[in-house]
C-alpha cells in the first residue's frame, strides 16, 4: 500500500485521526478499493466512527496487493506522528503512508519544508475488519446543520457532561443535559437549549422523538467538521436506535454512529420488537457479558466463517425484518459488500438473549433459546 496526501489534506488526515482518538484507543486501518478507511470503536461498543477517504483525497493512492489486509495500532502512536497541527500546517508538504508487510510496519513519512524528512515506522497488528452496518437512508428523522451551530450549542454544556438528550418536534429541536433518574433532580443543574427548525440547513422530522446519546464522542466529530467547514447531518429514529452523524464531501465521508438510550431499558420491550440479537462476534469482543441495558452497539466482525460462525447472508433476512418492522426495528444491513467479504452488523439497543447465528433466529425473534455458541446470555426480564 502506498498513498500520498499533500497540502491541506495532510491536516485533514491529522484531524481525522485526532477525532477518532476521541472514540477509541485503537485505530483500524482498512485500505479498500474505494479508498482508505480509518476507524475506531470504543471499549463498550457504544460508539463507532469511520472516515472513508476516497482515492481522490490522495495525490497518489495505491491499495495493497493483498485485498484482505487490515490492521490496527494504538491510536496514540499515530497521533504522535501528527502531534502539532499548527506545525503540520506550517511545514508539512506531503505525507506518505506505506505498508511494509514483511516487517509488519506502517511507514508514515512527512516531507517538510527546508528539506526536513520525518519518518515514522509504526508497528501494527493484523485484525478483523471493523465495520458497523447502518443505514442512514432508512432513518425517519434527518437534521442537517452547519458545524458552527452544533459547536455553539454544545458550548453551553460542561465538558464533563456525559450524555445529552436531543428532542425533536415538527418545528423545534431541544438539547438538554441528561440526568440519571436516580440522581437527585432537584439538585442537578439542568440546561436546555431550543433551536428552531430554521436554524438547520435541512429539517425532516417525521415524528416527535427524544434520544439520548453520549456527548463526549460527538465532540470528536464536531472538531473535525468545524475545521473542515462541512455541514453535519444527523440521522436517527426512536430511542434505542443509533444516531448517525455524517460529514461528507467529494473525497471523504465520516460517519459517527452512537448508540442511544432506549426509553425502557427492560429487554422485554425488545422482545416484542424485532430487535437485534447479537450475531456472534469474535470471542475477544464478548460484548454479551457487558451490562447491556440498551446503550450498546453489538458489533459483529465476522471474518471467514469459523466453526462458531454460520456463513450467512445476513442482508437478506434483516431486510425482511425491516419491512416487517415493529416500532423498535432499526438495525439494517447495509449490504454493500458481497457476503463472502467481511460483513459486520451493528445492533443497537438491548441485546436479546437469543444469540444465534442462523437466519432462522433472525426471523423469529420470539425464540429465546439460544442455539449458538455464545457463552453468555443476557437475561430477559
Amino acid at each position: 500500500m502506498d498513498c500520498v496526501a499533500t497540502g491541506a489534506n495532510v491536516k485533514v488526515l491529522a484531524k481525522a485521526i485526532h477525532s477518532l482518538s476521541r472514540i477509541g484507543e485503537e485505530l483500524y486501518l482498512e485500505p479498500v478499493d474505494d479508498g482508505l478507511a480509518l476507524r475506531s470503536v470504543n471499549s463498550s461498543r457504544s460508539a463507532f466512527a469511520s472516515f472513508q477517504l476516497s482515492p481522490l483525497f490522495f495525490q497518489r493512492y495505491q491499495a495493497p496487493t493483498d485485498q484482505s489486509f487490515r490492521c490496527k495500532m494504538p491510536i496514540k502512536s499515530v497521533q504522535a506522528v501528527f502531534k502539532s497541527l499548527s506545525s503540520l500546517e506550517r511545514s508539512v508538504e506531503k505525507c506518505r503512508i506505506q505498508l511494509n508487510s514483511e516487517k509488519s510496519r506502517l511507514t508514515i513519512t512527512l516531507h517538510c519544508k527546508h528539506g526536513l524528512l520525518k519518518t515514522h515506522n509504526l508497528s501494527f497488528q493484523d485484525c478483523e475488519s471493523l465495520q458497523a452496518v447502518f443505514d442512514k437512508e432508512s432513518c425517519t428523522n434527518v437534521l442537517q446543520a452547519q458545524p458552527r451551530l452544533m459547536v455553539d450549542t454544545v458550548l453551553h454544556f460542561p465538558p464533563s457532561l456525559e450524555e445529552v438528550n436531543l428532542s425533536v418536534s415538527s418545528d423545534r429541536v431541544w438539547l438538554r443535559n441528561h440526568v440519571e433518574d436516580d440522581a437527585d433532580s432537584s439538585r442537578a443543574m439542568m440546561t436546555e437549549l431550543c433551536l428552531s427548525s430554521e436554524e438547520f440547513d435541512h429539517f425532516a422530522i417525521s415524528s416527535q422523538t427524544s434520544i439520548t446519546f453520549c456527548l463526549k464522542e460527538l465532540r470528536g466529530l464536531l472538531g473535525f467538521a468545524e475545521s473542515s467547514c462541512l455541514p453535519i447531518s444527523m440521522y436517527f429514529d426512536e430511542p434505542g436506535s443509533p444516531v448517525i452523524l455524517n460529514v461528507t464531501d467529494s473525497v471523504l465521508e465520516a460517519n459517527f454512529v452512537l448508540a442511544t438510550l432506549s426509553e425502557d431499558s427492560h429487554s422485554k420491550n425488545h422482545v416484542n420488537s424485532d430487535t437485534k440479537r447479537p450475531d456472534a462476534e469474535q470471542p475477544p469482543d464478548d460484548f454479551m457479558s457487558d451490562d447491556m441495558d440498551s446503550f450498546l452497539i453489538a458489533m459483529e466482525t465476522s471474518e471467514l466463517p469459523g466453526p462458531s460462525h454460520v456463513p450467512t447472508s445476513p442482508p437478506q433476512p434483516i431486510n425482511n425484518r425491516k419491512h416487517s418492522a415493529s416500532d423498535d426495528e432499526d438495525e439494517e444491513a447495509l449490504a454493500e459488500r458481497p457476503p463472502n467479504k467481511k460483513f459486520c452488523s451493528l445492533f443497537f439497543g438491548s441485546v436479546l438473549p437469543t444469540p444465534s447465528l442462523t437466519n432462522q433466529t433472525i426471523q423469529s425473534q420470539e425464540v429465546l433459546a439460544s442455539d449458538s455458541e455464545d457463552e453468555n446470555q443476557t437475561e430477559t426480564s
Partner: protein
C-alpha cells in the same frame, strides 16, 4: 541603588563584582542549564562560566562574557565557588519575573572570596532585596577532552527546525541516536520507542543547515534522559552547532541572544551510550 548603601570598605573586600541592569540576562541563561541543583562558578577576566554536571556523563556550561555586564570587576585571575543553582535562580527572580516592558530587576552580584557567601543585591522599582547564598568548595568540572582537532563531524543548524524535532521526539525511547554522514542521510535523529521508530532527517543542502562538515559516517546513541535538559537551551537559542569527535562524544553549542540582543553561549557535552557499529 544598592551601591550607595555600601561603604567603600565593603567594596574593597569583594574579589568579584558583577552588575547587570537586567537580571534576566543572567537568569534566563542559567535556566537553560538548571537540570541539577548545584552549579560550579568560575569567573575570569573574560567573564563568567557556570557549569552543571550530571552523573559524570553530561556537562552543561553557560558563558556570560564580561562585556555583557554593566560592571565587572575581578581582583584575582580566577574566582571559583559552588552554589545551589535552584536557590540562586529563585533569588534572581525574587521579584516575580514580571515581563512588563521597562520594568526589570537590577542585579549586583558580589563575592568576598573563599568561605564567604555569594551576595546578591536585587532592586526593582525602588525595592531592594539582599540575598546571601552559601557557597561551597568548587568541584573540578570534568574535562571531556573535546578538542576541535578530534572533531570528525560538525553541523550548524538554525534552531527552529531542531526545536520542532525535539518537541516531537518520542520520549518512550531510551536513547536518541544521532547519525552524521557525508552522504545520505547526512544528519539524522532517531528514536526507538514503544510504538516503533522514528527518524528526522536534515539534508545537507537544507536552508536550515548553515554549515555541514562531515568527514565520515558516524552513528552514536545518547541517553534521552541526559539530552532532555538541553531542550531548554535549544529553546533559547537561534543557532546550534552539533559536533561529534572520534570517540563519539557529543558537543552541542547554542548561540543565545539575551534580552538586549547580546550573544551568550551555552554548551552541552554528552558521552555516548554504547558502542554502535558504524554502518
Amino acid at each position: 541603588m544598592p551601591l550607595s548603601t555600601q561603604s567603600q570598605s565593603d567594596v574593597d573586600q569583594y574579589i568579584l563584582i558583577a552588575s547587570l541592569d537586567n537580571a534576566r540576562n543572567l537568569s534566563n541563561i542559567l535556566k537553560a542549564i538548571s537540570f541539577k541543583d548545584h552549579a560550579i562558578f568560575n569567573a575570569t577576566q573574560n567573564g563568567l562560566k557556570v557549569t552543571v554536571e550530571d552523573s559524570k556523563c553530561l556537562q552543561a556550561n553557560a558563558f556570560i562574557q564580561a562585556d555583557i555586564f554593566q560592571e565587572y570587576i575581578i581582583k584575582e585571575d580566577a574566582v571559583g565557588f559552588q552554589v545551589n543553582l535552584t536557590v540562586l535562580l529563585d533569588c534572581l527572580t525574587i521579584f516575580g519575573g514580571s515581563t512588563v516592558p521597562g520594568v526589570c530587576t537590577a542585579l549586583r552580584m558580589c563575592y568576598n572570596g573563599y568561605g564567604y557567601p555569594l551576595t546578591l543585591f536585587l532592586e526593582e522599582g525602588g525595592v531592594v532585596t539582599v540575598c546571601k547564598i552559601n557557597t561551597q568548595e568548587p568541584e573540578e568540572p570534568i574535562d571531556f577532552d573535546f578538542c576541535s582537532t578530534n572533531v570528525t563531524n560538525k553541523v550548524i543548524l538554525q534552531s527552529d527546525s531542531l526545536k520542532e524535532a525535539f518537541s516531537e521526539l518520542d520520549m518512550t525511547s531510551e536513547v536518541l541516536q544521532i547519525t552524521m554522514s557525508p552522504s545520505h542521510p547526512y544528519f539524522r535523529l532517531s528514536t526507538f520507542g514503544n510504538s516503533g521508530n522514528a527518524h528526522y532527517d536534515y539534508p545537507k543542502d537544507s536552508d536550515m543547515m548553515e554549515l555541514f562538515q562531515c568527514t565520515k559516517i558516524q552513528t552514536n546513541r545518547y541517553k534521552m534522559s541526559l539530552l532532555k535538559p538541553s531542550t531548554k537551551a535549544l529553546a533559547l537559542s537561534c543557532k546550534v552547532s552539533v559536533r561529534t569527535d572520534s570517540r563519539g562524544f557529543l558537543s552541542l553549542q547554542y548561540l543565545v541572544r539575551n534580552d538586549d540582543g547580546q550573544i551568550c553561549f551555552v554548551e552541552y557535552y554528552c558521552c555516548p551510550d554504547e558502542e554502535v557499529e558504524e554502518e
